[in-house]
């Protein structure tokens, strides 16, 4: 079964929760007991319609304040596909939450309130989706019922968004515009009879048509070793398997490989998955690899094809999204976790800052505060084996861990 992961973005009250609830309701994915809970609470609040936002707003504090404060995951399936939606909140912590949601998503839905059109945050949402290189972006122009289902209004917003997207670095992004009303159910699952001028797809039919996969732009195999499996049993006395998840491309038995950082060459002898062996493994597969030679491999090392080497370097340049209350600064040390490989990192230069209106301020800055995005250079105590984010998402991203609090404080995109 294919799994399509979707990130959502929108400002508070644009109708994100309502839209997700509507999708679940119209695809009959809400079970009777959940529906009953929604009906009960809608009545209690005195609404004369169903408050679908109840289907997703999880934590008690959120229900009390009526806002979504953390990323929630919602699951549903059609006959064709399984869907996972990361419902990412649109207010203060929005950069952090959006980046989190978008990092595991293949596509994004950006909501715009038809009455307000493009606002400051809409630009931010576009910027983050471009930074994370989200291929498919749906612009859901919501609350069309409140602007009399006006075609002019829709065209006006669409034109403005096309203008923003032109200034984006990521030109391969596919934009789809859908006018809808989450509350009334227009163009979500069922076609609206109120907007005969709209000739495109409904949101659901668009989602159904998206092909899952193809996340990597270039396909070079990267195999970071998580752990070494040595059974020490009689039957498997000499077995040594390097366990990890394969990214970026396929590996096959007989492939000539290089182990990093040692640079030792060897050949893939065996690809093991549970109690079977295979000839070829693909990107995304969690496997165990055995090599023909007795080489020294441990956690954090990387196995790659001998003629497809990543960058091995003790310095790194990256776009950083800061996620912690304590700002990133020039004096602190961080643990840089690149995949499963941890090294120590120090900031050597903090350059430009991306402002919410997407303009770059080319100047040296003191620090990077929560939800800010900047260009940062680091020096490392050990080399990492990386790609540019544009070439290999998994191998082009890292997180920064605050050594004092252990929290994940920021995320970096190399290149």
């Amino acid at each position: 079964m294919q799994v399509l992961k979707i990130a959502t973005a929108g400002s508070v009250d644009d109708g994100k929760s309502t839209l997700i609830g509507r999708l679940l309701y119209d695809t009959k994915s809400l079970t009777d007991d959940k529906l009953e809970a929604i009906e009960k609470s809608s009545q209690k609040k005195g609404y004369d319609y169903l408050d679908f936002s109840m289907a997703t707003d999880g934590l008690m504090a959120e229900r009390e304040q009526g806002i979504t404060i953390d990323v929630a995951h919602i699951y549903w399936a059609t006959k064709n596909k399984s869907y996972i939606i990361a419902d990412t909140p649109g207010h203060i912590e929005y950069t952090r939450n959006m980046v989190t949601g978008a990092s595991t998503s293949q596509m994004a839905i950006i909501l715009v309130d038809a009455r307000h059109g493009v606002v400051e945050q809409t630009k931010r949402h576009f910027y983050i989706n471009a930074l994370l290189r989200i291929k498919d972006v749906v612009v859901a122009i919501n609350k069309m019922d409140l602007v009399d289902y006006s075609e002019d209004k829709y065209e006006e917003i669409k034109a403005e968004i096309l203008k923003i997207s032109k200034s984006n670095a990521y030109q391969n992004q596919k934009l789809t515009f859908i006018p809808l009303s989450a509350l009334k159910g227009d163009n979500v699952v069922d076609f609206s009879d109120k907007m005969p001028w709209y000739k495109g797809e409904t949101l659901l039919s668009h989602l159904e048509s998206i092909e899952v996969g193809a996340v990597f732009e270039k396909s070079q195999a990267r195999f970071p070793v998580q752990t070494v499996i040595r059974p020490k049993s009689e039957k498997f006395h000499d077995y040594r398997g390097y366990a990890g998840k394969l990214y970026g491309g396929a590996l096959a038995v007989g492939d000539k490989v290089t182990v990093l950082p040692s640079g030792t060459s060897s050949t893939i002898e065996k690809i093991q998955f549970y109690n079977q062996t295979y000839d070829i493994a693909n990107a995304g597969d969690s496997i165990a690899i055995s090599l023909t030679d007795d080489v020294n491999v441990s956690r954090g090392d990387m196995i790659v094809k001998y003629n497809e080497l990543p960058n091995t370097s003790k310095t790194v340049e990256a776009t950083i999204c800061w996620m912690d209350q304590t700002p990133l600064d020039l004096t602190s040390k961080y643990i840089l976790q690149h995949g499963v490989h941890q090294v120590l990192a120090k900031v050597t230069a903090l350059k430009s800052l991306v402002k919410p209106d997407l303009s770059m301020e080319e100047k040296a800055i003191e620090n990077l505060k929560i939800n800010q995005i900047g260009q940062v250079s680091f020096k490392l105590n050990q080399a990492i084996y990386s790609d540019n984010y544009a070439d290999n998402k998994q191998n082009g991203a890292f997180v920064l861990i605050d050594v004092k609090t252990n929290t994940t404080a920021g995320v970096g995109f190399i290149g």
């Binding site: 929630a72 952090r96 939450n97 998840k245 995304g284 969690s286 496997i287 165990a288």
Partner: protein, 300 residues
């Protein structure tokens, strides 16, 4: 013909998580309830470390109100796989006067498990507790991280969770803290059942249709077991053909009417069902924030 591997992405993600646990923590443990989710975890752990044995023990918090079929199954599974099984009894805590048994119509030992679990974590110094919770189960769980940090009191601070980006997992903790790990976070109930079917995994008999003495309360089917389930005289006992969708204590798990005697039939029934899995959990019906309250206090 080349043998080409193509792993189910959910399964691959779970195996990756298991391997991170073993690489990042000193003393992991798998919280084993004997239910379908923890049985699925055991199979995934086997796959993650094959041909080596699963490199951590199983821990079961026994309320004393478990279904006997589950306990029997638990012992058999641990023995077959040669795994260490640690069992801690809620009854011991009650006897020592550390916790007080609930009384009345809806009395259950579900809440009392938390105390016993925290004691066991402290006794053994476990730093990672692997559980079978899924985000689709319940609204509060939808926000749970894969590596979820708990403080010295086992408490969950839902407003201050570490961001998890891509599949990088940060298991750095201080002494006294521990991490709850949820390898099947992204699975749905149906995914679990389908996996059990394709992998041909053995599960306890109570998941299949069987005859059981039951009574009806609040529109739900309760097990009639006068030792652990409080029942009024007026609540008449009838033998029905039922099955369980989720397995907790006898005092808080409702049955569903079912004719499904094979795993294929169970999957069919789940696909057609209009009630969510936790709709059959009496403990969640207490109040809307029931699960979140329990989680904050260190519940599974």
């Amino acid at each position: 013909m080349k043998r080409k591997l193509n792993i189910n992405p959910l399964e691959s993600e779970s195996i990756y998580i298991f391997r991170e646990v073993v690489a990042q923590f000193e003393k992991p443990v798998l919280l084993f309830s004997g239910g379908k989710d923890s049985i699925t975890l055991v199979r995934l752990a086997q796959k993650a470390f094959y041909p080596a044995k699963i490199p951590f023990p199983l821990l079961h918090i026994d309320t004393g109100h478990n279904f006997p079929e589950t306990i029997e199954f638990r012992d058999k599974l641990a023995k077959e796989l040669g795994l260490e099984l640690i069992v801690r009894q809620v009854q011991d805590n009650i006897d020592q006067g550390k916790v007080k048994e609930e009384t009345g119509r809806y009395a259950s030992r579900n809440m009392l498990q938390t105390e016993t679990l925290l004691d066991a974590i402290e006794e053994y110094g476990f730093d990672a507790c692997i559980g079978g919770a899924r985000r689709d189960e319940e609204k509060a769980r939808a926000k749970e991280r894969i590596f979820s940090v708990r403080d010295d009191f086992g408490q969950w601070d839902e407003k201050n969770q570490r961001p998890e980006v891509f599949d990088m997992l940060n298991g750095k903790i201080e002494l006294g803290q521990n991490v709850r790990v949820f390898p099947i976070s992204n699975w749905t109930e149906l995914d679990v059942w389908q996996y059990i079917k394709t992998e041909d995994i053995e599960i306890p008999s109570i998941y299949f249709a069987h005859e059981r003495k039951t009574f009806i309360r609040d529109g739900m089917i309760w097990t009639a077991n006068d030792v652990v389930v409080f029942r009024e005289e007026s609540e008449a006992v009838t033998t029905r053909q039922v099955r369980f969708r989720t397995v907790g204590d006898m005092s808080c798990t409702a049955a569903v009417i079912s004719g499904a005697t094979t795993i294929a039939k169970v999957v069919e029934e789940i696909q057609a069902s209009t009630i969510s899995e936790r709709g059959a959990r009496i403990d969640d019906k207490r109040s809307e924030g029931a699960m979140e309250q329990r989680k904050k206090q260190g519940y599974f």
